[in-house]
């Protein structure tokens, strides 16, 4: 089980700010995203590879090949626009 958190336009598109997901761990960020896209609908659309998004594992920005372990907090969000 991992905790998924969504922010900004991705939170709005999915209609939720967090959820638990039963991903077989250890896995990679890429595998997790594939599993989410496979749910179709808003997931397939919001996480499409043609869009720009970022992933953080346990609040550290990571790449697609980063590992995910049990209990991890995985956040998915668009490129940041603060300041």
């Amino acid at each position: 089980m991992v905790t998924l958190r969504y922010f900004a336009s991705i939170r709005e598109a999915l209609g939720k700010q967090s959820e638990s997901a039963d991903v077989p761990t250890p896995a990679t960020v890429a595998a997790l995203l594939d599993a989410l896209r496979a749910k179709g609908g808003a997931y397939a659309e919001a996480l499409s590879t043609t869009r720009r998004w970022r992933v953080a594992v346990n609040q550290d920005m990571v790449g697609l090949d980063a590992a995910i372990g049990p209990g991890d907090e995985v956040a998915i969000f668009p490129p940041v626009t603060g300041g």
Binding site: A56, F77, G82
Partner: protein
């Protein structure tokens, strides 16, 4: 030494300066930056802006940027304050203050922190225009601003 705050309240630049000056007698230069809500963006009028962040990760990301700046330049003290929630044009969004012995270090570290805040700190802006609300798109110019520090 650094102060990092994410808050809905406004901030007072002079108060932050006064605290820094009271804590150190060797500060000779304080460079600051304040970001302000403009009434226009990408050609459309902006009536308000709402900022969202990732509690915990945002503060950690800002701390990491300040630590990196302090490793590159002589930094005596630094303060970063970023507001979240709904803001109107002419309101203050973000404050970066860097105190150093000399001005070149203060300026460089302050600009470095702002540049990385723009690309690395998890904040997102949604603005209200006559066409409705829209999420602000990340700018390529911000990535370029960050990249120029990589080559130094």
């Amino acid at each position: 030494m650094a102060t990092i705050r994410v808050q809905t309240n406004d901030f007072d630049l002079s108060a932050e300066h006064t605290q820094i000056r009271a804590r150190h007698r060797d500060v000779g230069a304080i460079a600051s930056f304040v970001g302000v809500v403009r009434d226009v963006n990408d050609g459309d009028g902006v009536s308000s802006m709402t900022l969202e962040h990732y509690p915990g990760m945002t503060e950690a990301a800002l701390q990491k940027i300040v630590v990196e700046a302090s490793s590159r330049w002589q930094v005596i003290d630094a303060t970063v304050i970023h507001r979240v929630g709904t803001l109107l044009p002419t309101e203050q969004i973000v404050l970066v203050v860097v105190a150093s012995r000399h001005r070149a270090d203060a300026f460089a570290a302050c600009e470095f922190i702002m540049d990385y805040l723009k690309t690395d700190a998890p904040f997102w802006k949604k603005e209200t225009t006559p066409h409705g609300a829209r999420w602000v798109e990340a700018r390529a110019s911000d990535d370029i601003a960050t990249q120029r520090w990589e080559n130094k």
